[in-house]
């Protein structure tokens, strides 16, 4: 196992009586990507803010690169880059001027900074637009510039907090591609999003957050595996919608045009076979998205499956 870049222990953040983050702990080893997933208000951004020193934990500890964030924030800040939703820059300055301003606070020589600005602007494909005022940039361009800003000082760790929020489809795709490139380069990263496909694509390890607590943690595959016996998925190959006729809820049936997808918390295979015939029913593995949605609906569930017999 690689050395941990981030160690979070018992992190709590309270706003009055509300616990936005409630006892979260996780480690992020070097050269891996950790994804934080959860619905809006689950506490993802609050955790990232505590990781970046923008918010102070009510209790708990954040250690990064072997330093305590509460004691040596600047030593840590020099070593990470932060990209967040709706990145803001000085609108009356060009991209080049903005990066020069922010880049000067890191320990880079003037020559190296100039080189890095060119490298990062080329990486995010903004080099041709470098002299344009940032106020005239689209939201996608601003986010790409945000990635350039996060990379300019050659950080060892990248924190992406809802980095594709508010960006159009094309821009989102570009940003994901950039994030994927960074993963290939072996950068350590923390990615938060409420977009399940994004997290699955980018993360080695995932923490699913609900109401400030991590309810499941592991690789995308292990999270899916963990639902064996808890969530069942069947494809019923019929060209017309089927009705849920069995007596044991809960299950959802979705007609997708050519077939029906049945998601059930109980094993209803025999029931479906009895009703529609063995050659039309097949059991498949739930997608990551389906697994996560089920976990978020049943944060406390961890029980044995209950088999349901055909009831006619």
């Amino acid at each position: 196992m690689n050395e941990s870049i981030i160690e979070v222990q018992g992190l709590v953040k309270r706003y009055g009586k509300l616990a936005a983050v409630d006892g979260v702990s996780f480690d992020v080893p070097a050269s891996t990507t950790f994804g934080l997933l959860g619905p809006n208000g689950a506490g993802k951004t609050t955790i990232v803010k505590m990781l970046t020193g923008l918010a102070k934990p009510t209790s708990g500890r954040v250690r990064m690169f072997g330093h305590d964030m509460a004691r040596r924030p600047n030593a840590i800040k020099r070593r990470f880059g932060h990209v967040y939703a709706a990145m803001a820059f000085f609108p009356a300055l060009s991209a080049l001027e903005n990066l020069t301003f922010f880049g000067r606070f890191y320990d880079l020589s003037a020559r190296r900074l100039k080189e890095r600005i060119e490298e990062t602007l080329r990486f995010v494909e903004l080099w041709e637009e470098r002299k344009k005022l940032v106020g005239a940039y689209s939201s996608g361009m601003k986010q790409r510039l945000g990635i350039a800003k996060a990379l300019v000082h050659e950080p060892d760790l990248l924190l992406f907090d809802e980095a594709t929020n508010g960006v159009d489809v094309e821009g989102t795709d570009d940003i994901r591609e950039l994030m994927f490139d960074l993963r290939v380069q072996g950068k350590t990263a923390v990615v938060t999003s409420h977009r399940l496909d994004e997290i699955e694509l980018l993360s080695d390890d995932i923490g699913i957050l609900d109401e400030g607590k991590i309810v499941r943690q592991g690789s995308p595959q292990s999270i899916r595996d963990g639902l064996r016996g808890l969530l069942f998925k069947y494809i019923v190959d019929r060209a017309e919608p089927i009705q849920e006729t069995w007596s044991h809820p809960p299950a959802t049936v979705r007609y997708i045009g050519t077939a029906n997808v049945v998601l059930s918390e109980t094993d209803v295979h025999s029931l479906l076979v009895a009703q529609f015939g063995a050659d039309t029913v097949s059991e498949v593995e739930p997608t990551f998205e389906e697994a996560c949605l089920w976990i978020l609906k049943h944060p406390e569930a961890n029980g044995a499956p209950e088999a349901v017999g055909a009831s006619g």
């Binding site: 030593a75 967040y84 990145m87 800003k149």
Partner: protein, 380 residues
């Protein structure tokens, strides 16, 4: 330190060339130009009607006639201003122009300071720029200080440059010459204006950081403006001088009236010789003036404390001392047996206004500490 300087330069230049700052620059020039030209025209008219220009000894003041129901500080300030304005010798030179505009500046700078700073922090919070700034590997105190100093220096420089531009223009139009002493007094007063403005920028900045919303901050700053204005108005009137408290003005004997009537019939100039009853009357006037001066000094000493809760009062008090080069101590305007022997001294004026200047600086220091504490604990 390098990060602090870099940030401060950035905030300074950003604010200096902002649209809002440009508007304040033009506004302060326009305001001062209009007011100072009016003052200069009034002074010229009074000077012409009084006859040929003459020396300092020809200036006159009539404090009894000009006393009004207001604080002793205000009465003193107005009496000194009146002596400068009505002097045939154009006493005070360009100082009078700035002096006469000080009450207006007290509220304009209050307005400008709050309006400049009401969104200083909240705007960055709203646009998420604060995330980027606080994410920099820079000490938060350095960030807070650089923001406060950089943006405030830009505004102060703009307003001071505007003041000087207006004064120089009016001096050129009105044919007023600056003496070295007057220039020194003006240049000393400009940092006081700067400190005054700085205090309100810091108030606005603190409100901005606490409110976290520009809209809310604007309303609170508006309320602060109204509150400061009201406190000043209330204090000026609450501590007003009741005419019943004043020493009694000596009766004018009929023989003295007869003497002056005869002199007028004979035609001016009158000789230096005066009958004993007239000399006695003049002596009683001196005694009255001395009593009035003692009364005013005592009242002024007590009332100065009130100025400490009214920033415009502080500024007017300081301007009362600094922006005049006629009196060693401005309260000499009522009576001083040493007038003529005690030259107006810049050091004395500074000493007289030292408590107010010290309080202003202390206020700035306290507000700065409050802002740093707030920014250090700021969470986004």
């Amino acid at each position: 330190m390098r990060a602090f300087t870099r940030l401060m330069c950035h905030f300074f230049l950003k604010r200096l060339f902002s649209l809002r700052n440009g508007a304040f620059f033009l506004l302060v020039i326009g305001l001062l130009l209009a007011g100072a030209l009016d003052q200069q025209a009034t002074r010229q008219r009074l000077s012409d009607s009084l006859g040929a220009p003459s020396g300092a000894e020809e200036t006159f003041v009539s404090p009894v006639g000009s006393l009004h129901p207001g604080s002793s500080r205000l009465n003193t300030w107005e009496a000194v201003t009146a002596t400068l304005r009505m002097s045939g010798a154009m006493l005070g030179g360009p100082l009078l122009l700035l002096r006469a505009m000080t009450p207006l500046l007290a509220f304009f700078l209050l307005f400008a300071g709050l309006l400049c700073a009401f969104d200083m922090v909240s705007r960055d919070l709203e646009t998420s720029l604060m995330d980027s700034l606080l994410g920099l590997p820079v000490d938060r105190r350095a960030l807070g200080l650089s923001k406060a100093f950089g943006e405030t220096f830009a505004l102060t420089l703009t307003l001071a440059a505007g003041c000087m531009a207006a004064l120089v223009t009016v001096s050129a139009i009105g044919g007023l010459d600056w003496t070295a002493g007057q220039l020194a007094r003006t240049l000393l007063f400009l940092p006081v204006l700067g400190a005054y403005c700085f205090a309100f920028v810091l108030v606005g900045m603190w409100i901005s950081a606490k409110a976290r919303s520009s809209n809310r901050s604007l309303w609170i700053c508006g309320a602060v403006f109204v509150a400061v204005f009201s406190v000043h108005a209330v204090i000026e009137n609450a501590v007003s001088i009741d005419r019943a408290d004043l020493p009694e003005f000596p009766d004018l004997p009929a023989s003295v009236v007869q003497h002056f009537r005869d002199a007028k019939l004979r035609g001016y100039p009158v000789s230096d010789w005066r009958p004993p009853e007239v000399e006695d009357y003049f002596a009683s006037l001196d005694a009255y003036s001395a009593e009035l001066a003692t009364f005013m000094r005592a009242r002024h000493r007590a009332e100065r404390w009130w100025s400490f809760v009214s920033p415009p009062g502080l500024l007017i008090e300081v301007s009362g001392h600094l922006l005049q080069d006629q009196y060693h101590d401005v309260l000499d305007v009522f009576y001083s047996p040493e007038v003529g022997r005690r030259p107006a001294s810049l050091a004395a004026s500074l000493w007289q206004s030292a408590p107010e200047i010290a309080w202003l600086l202390l206020l700035c220091g306290g507000l700065m500490a409050l802002n740093i504490r707030t920014l250090t604990r700021l969470e986004v």
